[in-house]
């Protein structure tokens, strides 16, 4: 029995969003009489942090504290229309819609404040702490709460804004198949080290190194955690998970967590993550979104690492011990591509 080490590399250009009818997302923003703002979205936060990011984006655009923004994604029946949370589109699509809506709401908020302060709205700035004041004269000031109350109870204004992200529908050229389905790409490179046992066929990922370019990391801790969790899922897809282990035969398909295997907390590989920030021109504050791409490059990288380790080229996922052993048998044993 010999343990063979190998390294595999993969890189990815990952599209953010997809052009389904222009890929629209809508956002509605309005103020409440306490000076706080509600952002209504129909896209759902699956745990990736979309609510947190949209909250930051709204606060930054409105010029108010992030604590004063509530993001409501409660009900897609009654909320503004959205294509949904998929295709890694959340930060980019909803973020852009939130900026557009928040800009409109901000302009009404400044008009209301201007009327109270008897100044021109163009002369007003926000301090990000809940105050609106005349540029260069912080003492000529009104709180966002007072401005909201004045708008609602005296001026008869609605401090609200509408936003939508929409790109032109891209038709497919019937001759060439050419189209422009997306507006921006994120990028990543991943290097994994594996150990392959030539007696059991078992593949163990021992190290992951990755570099991700996701535009500006609007919330760096959320980005890092998404990449970390996603890489685990990629490792799981690469070497463990399958509902159809003998496809197209349905035999021995997993029916529960005893048969559907996933790496547990004792099966982790150290993962070193580098995040490169290159703000996207069309992204909200330059953000793109890690989304699904955090899992994808792990799969080809693991397959390449197995090839590097023992010379077996696996062409159907996951890389199970059985497939590795069959490959080793057919080529007459391990044929490492290099000595590490």
């Amino acid at each position: 029995m010999t343990i063979h080490r190998g390294r595999g590399f993969a890189c990815i250009n990952y599209p953010i969003g997809m052009n389904l009818g222009g890929d629209p997302s809508q956002a509605l923003v309005h103020s409440n009489p306490d000076g706080k703002f509600t952002v209504a979205l129909s896209a759902i936060d699956l745990g990736q942090g979309m609510k947190s990011v949209c909250r930051q984006i709204a606060a930054e655009t409105l010029g108010i504290p992030v604590e004063d923004v509530y993001v409501d994604t409660a009900d897609s029946d009654t909320g503004p229309h959205d294509m949904g949370s998929f295709a890694s589109r959340g930060t980019h699509r909803m973020g852009n819609a939130v900026i557009m809506a928040a800009k409109e709401a901000r302009s009404v908020m400044l008009e209301a404040a201007a009327e109270e302060l008897e100044v021109d709205p163009a002369d007003l700035v926000t301090d990000g702490k809940g105050n609106i004041h005349v540029k260069g004269a912080p003492s000529r000031s009104i709180t966002t709460m007072a401005a909201s109350q004045a708008a609602q109870f005296r001026q008869g204004r609605t401090i609200a804004g509408r936003g939508i992200f929409l790109i032109p529908l891209s038709d497919v050229d019937p001759e060439t198949g050419e189209m422009t389905p997306v507006t921006t790409f994120a990028h990543a490179a991943m290097l994994v080290t594996v150990e392959v046992c030539d007696e059991t066929g078992e593949v163990t990922v021992t190290d992951m190194q990755s570099a991700y370019e996701v535009g500006r990391a609007l919330n760096p801790k959320l980005v890092e955690q998404q990449l970390r969790g996603g890489a685990w899922m990629g490792m799981s897809h690469a070497a463990w998970e399958t509902t159809e282990p003998h496809y197209p035969s349905r035999d021995h398909g997993a029916v529960d967590f005893n048969g559907y295997l996933m790496p547990g907390p004792g099966d982790l590989a150290p993962h070193h993550i580098s995040i490169l920030e290159r703000p996207a021109a069309d992204g909200p504050f330059g953000g793109k979104g890690p989304g699904e791409m955090c899992a994808n490059p792990v799969l080809p990288a693991v397959v390449n690492a197995v090839f590097d380790a023992v010379g077996v080229r696996i062409d159907a996922l996951p890389v199970t011990p059985e497939k590795v052993l069959r490959g080793l048998k057919s080529q007459g044993g391990a044929k490492p591509r290099q000595r590490l």
Partner: protein, 157 residues
Amino acid sequence: MAMKPVTFTLNGLAKAAFTEDGQNLLDFLRRGVGDMAPKYGCGQGGCGACTVLLDGVPHLSCLTLAETVEGRRVDTASGLAGATISPLQEAFMDRFAAQCGYCTPGMLMAATALLAKNPRPNRDEVIEAISGNICRCTGYEPIIAAILDVAEGRVGA
């Protein structure tokens, strides 16, 4: 269907409720008592989302008969926070140890039992303690790090 009264202690408070024949503890806690912290994951003891403590020991509430908690102490994630959240919960927040959050109540209870029994666990002991709990989102590392933060005194006291 026969109903049977069960008296027990839930998160330090005396409780009494009726259980149906054969009702499992998870269903009893959620539907009968209204404690929604334990989650229904697989319903067959494979995922750990329903983990609660019985007299301080982790149990899978989906596989535990409700009537067996008569006279015993049951602790769920609902009881972890007092006026403020507990150091373990704080560590989970600081480390981003929850994404969708579905496994979190079970993880918290598994970790609570570990730290009560062994306040200074090492990494391998933490892994062992949560190895019956499946997490789909985080990749486990932030959860391990959060529990070690408490064990090694980096959060709370």
